[in-house]
């Protein structure tokens, strides 16, 4: 079973809908009631609180408002379902004992809402190895008056020790650096993409050399009436079958070298 991060962006409320039913009828076997947990990172330790029980066949939506006063505003809340209680404090991110599936993974609805609209995707999150790297091409910037675009860089690692990397944003065509931002582990790092000088034919390239992450793109109209949320693929998803992770390595090395020939990937 995986974790489900509760997203945070200014002007929109994050929510997660957990489901206690299997995504298919052949991998999970019988399910039973599960505990709903929220885990977060604080002072070099993982803290977990139990939010109750979720019956078989039911769903439960947890919002940022539900966690006010429990999870510090600065922490990334991670929801989970487990069959047994998690330790209240742990030096490593607790391993979850819930049922795991692969085709598809056991997911939740992860979303953002305003008073007028909501947007979501079906997702899950497992800890990344550290260090690891990120390279992705993100053609999701939308243009127009009163439209705001954000990159939400989601990182999760087993260690609660804080560390920082630099996210470099380039225009892939000219390999021109458009911006650089500090990003933190075990966080939903929100990066505003407006004002970086991207045009409608520019292909933004996002690079982190020592931190892997899920790159989400959130666009909204300023009045909150319209929202869009989706993630881009890792390079391995550009190919299928064979040694696709080797193909990913080739692509990453090529682009790491292209955008900064002096630095060894």
């Amino acid at each position: 079973m995986s974790y489900y991060p509760l997203l945070k962006v200014s002007g929109a409320q994050g929510w997660v809908t957990l489901c206690n039913f299997s995504p298919n009828n052949w991998e999970a076997g019988a399910t039973r009631n599960q505990l709903v947990n929220v885990t977060w990172c604080a002072d070099d330790v993982w803290i977990t609180a139990c939010l109750g029980t979720l019956e078989v066949g039911k769903t439960r939506t947890v919002t940022a408002q539900d966690l006010q006063g429990l999870v510090p505003d600065s922490a990334l809340p991670l929801l989970s379902l487990t069959q047994n209680p998690l330790p209240p404090q742990s030096p490593r991110l607790p391993k979850l004992d819930g049922v795991k599936t692969a085709t598809p993974a056991w997911r939740a609805s992860l979303g953002l809402s305003t008073l007028q609209a909501q947007t979501s995707y079906q997702g899950e999150m497992d800890p990344f190895p550290a260090p690891a790297s990120l390279l992705t091409f993100g053609p999701f910037v939308q243009f127009g008056a009163e439209i705001n675009n954000y990159l939400i860089l989601l990182n999760l690692e087993s260690s609660p020790s804080p560390r920082t990397d630099t996210l470099m944003i380039y225009d892939a065509h000219h390999q021109a650096l458009k911006g650089q931002f500090d990003v933190h582990n075990n966080q939903a790092n929100v990066i505003p993409l407006d004002g970086l000088g991207f045009h409608s034919t520019d292909l933004p390239l996002f690079v982190c050399r020592t931190m892997a992450a899920i790159p989400l793109y959130f666009s909204r109209t300023a009045d909150g009436n319209f929202l869009s949320l989706e993630h881009t693929h890792p390079p391995a998803s550009l190919v299928v079958h064979g040694k696709r992770w080797e193909a990913q390595k080739i692509l990453k090395n090529r682009w790491f070298e292209k955008v900064n020939p002096k630095v060894n990937p």
Binding site: Q116, T201, V239, H241
Partner: protein, 268 residues
Amino acid sequence: MTPSLLFQRLRRAIWTWKQPLTQQPSERTAPISDLFIWRASKDWQTSFELIDIPSLFCDYPHTIPRNVTIFFFDDKGRYCLEKRIPVLPHQRQTLNISSLVGESHGEVGTFAVFHADIPRAVTDMGSFLTERGYVSYRYQQAPLQAYVHGNYDAIARKSDHTFERLGVTGWLPRQYCLQHAMQNPSYYEFGLVNPTNKVQSFTCQWISLLSGKLLSHQIVKLPPQGMHLIHFPINQSEPARAVIQSRLVMARPLVFRIQNSKLDVFHG
């Protein structure tokens, strides 16, 4: 190996042996694409973010024009038309798919995007280049488009210009249970695509999240390459979840959710 572990492995083998998610194309250099859903009508506009994927892996001479070919199919899976689009290396081209498909092929269907060049870096790894890129939908002239990524390696194009559908079916009926709570008031449309060579039957069930009872169901039969939008209004009904039963290894739908004329779109 304990008897319990052996039983588990045997049980899993029934569902997985010779039943991969997608099959390999018969030609080593065949490009692969998802069968993306297009919508074109007064209310719907579809766009596609075209990226020159081969040029991400290697440089090509600027002097030689390169392109992708986009094939359009109607909801019955019948070929409609094809368009060759020149690619711009390392740039983004937002294609108005609704405008490319025109008005004479219905309001919904699928399209596939095939890249002409397959980099050695890909074939040397025994891999295949696949287009699972990004589609966006605009509903009722909204100022914002809603993005969703492709999720299936559905179809390959062979060197003799024929297509090879890559979807795999299992021996036993499988359920795809969308892990999403359908709350009112919303209007849901589930886009189903058949990426196999045979007619497939899909049974869609909507199950109450309060009582667990079946609220409604619908059966659709799709020809190879065909697609269908199943409608489910949830205005007055109880919150529900959707279960899709078929012989596909994974019948993952594309979900359109409309609430107060606002669109949200996501993959199962």
